[in-house]
Symmetry: C2
Subunit: 245 residues, 2 copies
Amino acid sequence: MISKNQLKTLRALGQKKQRKALGLFLVQGEKNVLELVGSNLNTKQIFATSEFLSEHKDLLNGFDCIDASLDELTKASTLKSNNAAIAIVETPNMDVPTAKGTMIALDGVSDPGNLGTIIRVADWYGIKHIIASTDCADPYNPKTISATMGSFARVSVSLVDLPSYLEASNLPVYGAFLEGDSVHQTTFKPEGILLMGSESHGVREAASCYVTDKVTIPSFGGAESLNVAMATGIILDNMKRQHTN
Amino acid sequence: MISKNQLKTLRALGQKKQRKALGLFLVQGEKNVLELVGSNLNTKQIFATSEFLSEHKDLLNGFDCIDASLDELTKASTLKSNNAAIAIVETPNMDVPTAKGTMIALDGVSDPGNLGTIIRVADWYGIKHIIASTDCADPYNPKTISATMGSFARVSVSLVDLPSYLEASNLPVYGAFLEGDSVHQTTFKPEGILLMGSESHGVREAASCYVTDKVTIPSFGGAESLNVAMATGIILDNMKRQHTN
């Protein structure tokens, strides 16, 4: 059963301010919680249905697990469905990673669902680090975590002063611009930063001045733009294709 | 002002059953309504703020426009935001297209947001027709239309008996399977059908037996799968790259 105090904490963690004050965040959904328990993150508590707890008994050994009904869990959750398991997790203390290998940099990508989808596709292509401007979506927003489908445990997101980070890096910066060169014809270096802007504002001036190569996805139809997560995935596929075959 | 009867119709069109009975659907949001008025679709009425109506006066000439407050529009809308304009549109009578050129076939893709994102990326790559199994999301669901970002006006979606359609087509069928050959190494023919399954069930047996080539997106990290819309976009990019350079 979820106590009144526990319910209060779970609800509070739906808010960014409370997540920051408590140094905690929520991981919701079966797939995400299973990825969590296999990761290095510090899990404080897991609330789950008795079915989930008994099915994954061995994996959950040593964790502080609280048995709750699906009804209780749905009331505590910030999501409408997929609430058989909810975990409270410590926000990790991470150093900002050195610019190395293939990285993604995000400028003003404020939708948590898009950020989560970008984390998932980054993980697919083996990218370990995402650098994001401080006005990007919160990587610990429950909607972000859900959209990652477990990849939150393998990809770090650091909110930084993006222009300073790009200035200090010695890597080529591939910026996505509608007027860039086709990614089908671009020769990507083995290491580099893929810089994506928001759908409404693109890459802003303060960051765009560090772009070494402007790239675009060639269009053959009428759509004016692609969703930023979709565009990130398509460009990553082109970058990886050149260095793995 | 939106009358009680008009409000009733707008609200009814949030439901699939009512859309079917009335032969009408909703187009919501400024960008989508502007794409609509430039298309061949038959628009019955446009409800919009006076700002929207005066800003686009020339484009809207000849349309039945009703001035409404943003408050009224938000109450009538199925969406939480982006409600400056809402249109009621006649569902077009479409013939199922002949299998020709590059097409997309969807097997059990039931999320309307995913379907809308697939329509948008199809439009980007110049695909005109999508064939979908009858248990796919409704192409006229307001969430589908919103996610297309205007591309609903340029891409047709036909719900059909998918296995029969594939059986009758003379095109190669490229099916997305985790165990397929890498799309980086696949030689795509200039015409063909890209067949995508749902994230949970993949391409089902009844359709998979018509697949001529199993393809996959090579993975370099820990993510187990990609979102179906993302995967569609990445494979389309690989198909188009070979036939346009």
